[in-house]
């Protein structure tokens, strides 16, 4: 093009070789329609094959490519060089997670938390396939639809100050997904999720900072899920304490 270049300062960290993460500067051709991920791929292909990061779909839906871009958690396939150019751009691994190498974080903790909220339909009695689908109106769908949009990108965990301090905290996405199943008209498993969602590590640790909702690229609004879960659990608790058996 016109020979313009963009500068990226990228965190490098190789366990066994680096004591602590360091920053390395790269310059790449500046292209107006490049996303940050294009620049990383350019570096990997043409400048330095040792740079490590995750990516796949390059269309904002697989959730692989989350990183800190100038200190803010972003999907790097969905932010453009031009949003920063000509300023230098700082690329770091998502904060609040252990670093495996360079820009690759260890998210196994989330996988365990996800499983703990039982993110599947729980039924007292199963309908047979031959009996057809469960009917669900568009209104019933919209009660939980927003919370199905989570791509597990971990941006909200990187933004969450509570998770940063208390790694036991279930965290925004896992809570949103638990809530998603609770709100699904086909599901009857709310009580069995309560033990986890309603525990100290569940919703109660959240102090309503709202950063999660702010950074979420898919408008999941995990903060709302946490807020509404608190209200519902409180309601259920009052019901259970104040109402005689049988009326719950």
């Amino acid at each position: 093009m016109n020979g313009a270049t963009a500068t990226l300062n990228i965190t490098r960290y190789l366990p066994g070789q680096d004591q602590i993460p360091r920053s390395q500067s790269y310059s790449v051709p500046y292209q107006r329609d490049w996303v940050i991920l294009d620049a990383l791929n350019y570096i990997k292909d043409h400048i330095d094959g040792t740079l490590s990061y995750r990516w796949s779909c390059r269309m904002g839906v697989c959730g692989s490519c989350g990183m800190m871009v100038n200190g803010v958690p972003k999907l790097t396939c969905a932010v453009f060089l031009r949003d920063f150019y000509p300023q230098e751009i700082r690329i770091e691994p998502l904060v609040n997670f252990p670093i495996i190498r360079d820009l690759v974080i260890d998210m196994s903790d989330f996988l365990d938390k996800l499983k703990s909220v039982k993110p599947w339909i729980i039924r007292k009695t199963e309908k047979q396939i031959s009996e057809g689908e469960y009917l669900q109106t568009p209104e019933e769908l919209s009660a939980y639809q927003q919370f199905t949009q989570c791509i597990n990108c971990m941006l909200c965990y990187a933004a969450c100050p509570v998770y940063g301090m208390e790694p036991e905290f279930l965290g925004p996405a896992a809570i949103a997904l638990g809530y998603r199943y609770n709100q699904d008209s086909r599901d009857q498993g709310k009580e069995s999720r309560q033990a986890v969602l309603g525990s100290h590590e569940g919703i109660w640790q959240c102090t309503f900072v709202g950063e999660c909702t702010e950074v979420c690229p898919k408008e999941v609004d995990p903060a709302a899920a946490i807020q509404r879960s608190k209200v519902e659990i409180t309601k259920d608790w009052f019901k259970s304490v104040l109402l005689p058996w049988g009326q719950r």
Binding site: L14, P15, G16, Q17, D33, K44, D45, H46, D48, G49, T50, S52, Y53, R54, W55, S56, C57, R58, M59, G60, V61, C62, G63, S64, I100, R101, D102, V104, M107, L111, L114, K115, K118, P119, W120, I121, E126, K127, I129, S130, G132, E133, Y134, L135, Q136, T137, P138, E140, L141, Y144, Q145, T148, Q149, C150, I151, N152, Y181, D184, R186, D187
Partner: protein, 576 residues
């Protein structure tokens, strides 16, 4: 050495469905689910438009079968198609029971929409993120099966074959670079397609045809590899897909004169409301060729990334766009700065799907005992020479489930493989990996350069229009690249999360897959479905109503043929 009854390679739609089916067949079976990315990152996540099955009274198994066979240009095996279509509705309902958030009609039933080449509305959808929702529903549901043990971010490098049957795999654990052996009585390959052998594709970075190459190297034939589907509406530059659902909902394709050009190619008449199988709802192979002919006539636009036409959605209005195809709006706004509510979207044909793959029968069995395959990596074949949009997600479910059950049945009747011979095989593999990848020193060729040259020659030789000379050139270039590959160099000699080694292994697989595509194409001297030859422009049922089977040999691919199963639908001219 970890030991399982069943090993499933791949955590996309097909792999997860297989895992659940195997787990449900018998809780006693131990199952390993191996994937080079976390399952929810698998490419199925990108699928947008929907998934087909006969769900309504105005539809019938016979019409779905006929549409599929016709779309396939009669190269599909009709017994397999019928089986597929019979099992499809149950699979979609199963997924509904597992929580997939399908879009709904006011009465609460799953909605269905129109799709290219389908004569009835039969494509179920979850807005325009169908694959995403299906994948997450499957993944989340799979978490409740304790017998499924995941190996996330582990890359399979070879199949271990002993005593005439597959008995395990070797993996590189990407976290630490260790080569490990997993043994199993049965192995199911669900590794997805290989669109990344081409430069311009809707496919995610991980779609490098690994499973096809794994089976090919183990002596299993790759079937119908010459059939590569171009999708008519990708974004120029990135190749990001604009789903066919945008046309199912009523979008128009216009050339630079604002003219709905498809009417000039026998797909008319143009109507305001979409009509099944007409105009913009014609099949993908034909629509992609129409685009190229418009280019020839000088009636396409020219942009920084070459020729394009317009996909016009403006007349649908903001409400419908937001409700039915919100992701299209999101993608167009984000990646090209165009809001389809107000402006048409520039689009052009882009490599999308591989009809071919590991040759299996309708039970998903391959010719190698113990080896099964399902999903895009397999070729049953139900897609023949051209897949109809929205049949492949369903294919992942139907044949994923079948693979899980078939493998479970087989594994239950087998004794455990003995470890001695497998240890020896694993040592050989470790040595190969060390020499060529993990500890290779020196070398002059950059991985990215060889990949780029492969891309270029694939586009030139086996793109939308093909001819003898160009294909031969591609075959030759590919064998040169195969030689040059031996001299690749690595920047990264670390063992921790070494993505350069993974990229090299993927390129190694892709060169095999590319060779199978080019040679199969050069040998098919006719035009059928997506395979269009300027030197043989007609379909030739007399000589080529048969499947190609590419076998790997030291001298390159050897192409053989096998018959197509015709049951009730005799080949006729394919006109829409």
């Amino acid at each position: 050495m970890d030991t399982y009854d069943i090993i499933i390679v791949g955590g996309g739609g097909a792999g997860l469905r297989a895992a659940i089916a195997a787990a449900e067949s018998s809780p006693k079976l131990s199952i390993a689910l191996v994937s080079k990315v976390y399952p929810m990152r698998s490419h199925t996540v990108s699928a947008e438009g929907g998934t087909a099955a006969v769900l309504r009274d105005n539809d019938s198994f016979d019409t779905h079968a006929k549409d599929t066979i016709f779309g396939a240009d009669f190269l599909a095996d009709q017994d397999a198609v019928e089986m597929f279509i019979n099992e499809a509705p149950g699979e979609l309902i199963q997924l509904e029971h597992w929580g997939c958030p399908w879009s709904r009609d006011p009465d609460g039933r799953m909605s269905v929409r129109a799709f290219g080449g389908m004569s009835v509305n039969r494509t179920a959808f979850a807005a325009d993120k169908t694959g995403f929702h299906m994948l997450h529903a499957l993944f989340q549901t799979s978490l409740k099966y304790e017998s499924v043990n995941r190996y996330d971010e582990c890359f399979v490098t070879t199949l271990l074959v002993n005593d005439g049957r597959v008995q395990g795999i070797t993996i590189i654990n990407i976290y630490n670079g260790q080569v490990e052996v997993i043994t199993g009585k049965a192995v199911i390959l669900c590794t997805g397609g290989g669109g990344r052998v081409f430069p311009f594709t809707t496919n995610a970075a991980i779609k490098t045809g690994d499973g096809m190459a794994l089976a090919y190297r183990a002596g299993v034939a790759l079937k119908d590899m010459e059939f590569v589907q171009y999708h008519p509406t990708g974004l120029p530059g990135t190749g990001i897909l604009i789903t066919e659902a945008s046309r199912g909902e009523g979008g128009w394709l216009t050339n630079k004169d604002g003219y709905r050009y498809l009417q000039d190619y026998g797909l008319g008449p143009p109507t305001d409301e979409p009509v099944h199988r007409k105009m913009e709802l014609g099949p993908r192979d034909i629509l992609s060729r129409c685009h190229m002919q418009e280019l020839e006539k000088g009636r396409t636009f020219e942009g920084p990334y070459g020729h394009y036409v317009h996909l016009d959605l403006r007349h649908l209005g903001e409400n419908k766009i937001n409700e039915k195809i919100p992701f299209v709006r999101e993608l167009a706004r984000k990646y090209i700065g165009i809001d389809p509510v107000y402006e048409p979207i520039p689009v052009r044909p882009v490599v999308h799907y591989m009809m071919g793959g590991i040759s299996t029968d309708a039970t998903t069995k391959t010719t190698l005992a113990g080896l099964y395959a399902a999903g895009e990596t397999a070729c049953v074949s139900i897609n023949g020479a051209n897949r109809l949009g929205s049949n492949s997600l369903t294919e992942c479910l139907v044949f994923g489930a079948r693979a899980g059950r078939s493998a479970a049945e087989y594994a239950s009747a087998q004794s455990s493989p003995s470890s001695k011979p497998l240890e020896a095989l694993a040592r050989d593999e470790q040595q190969r990996l060390d020499q060529q990848f993990l500890r290779k020193e020196g070398g002059k060729e950059r991985i990215a350069t060889i990949r780029q040259e492969m891309h270029k020659t694939m586009e030139e030789g086996v793109g939308i229009y093909r001819n003898e000379e160009a294909m031969q050139k591609t075959c030759n270039t590919l064998s040169q690249l195969r030689e040059r590959f031996k001299d690749i160099s690595f920047d990264d000699r670390s063992s921790i999360f070494n993505t350069e080694v993974i990229a090299a292994l993927e390129l190694d697989f892709m060169l095999d897959v590319a060779g199978a595509i080019a040679h199969s194409a050069a040998n098919r001297k006719e035009s059928r479905g997506s395979h269009t030859r300027t030197d043989f422009p007609k379909r030739d049922d007399e000589n080529f109503l048969k499947h190609s089977l590419a076998h790997r040999t030291v001298d390159g691919p050897r192409i053989e043929y096998s018959p197509v199963t015709i049951t009730r639908w005799q080949p006729e001219e394919r006109k829409y």
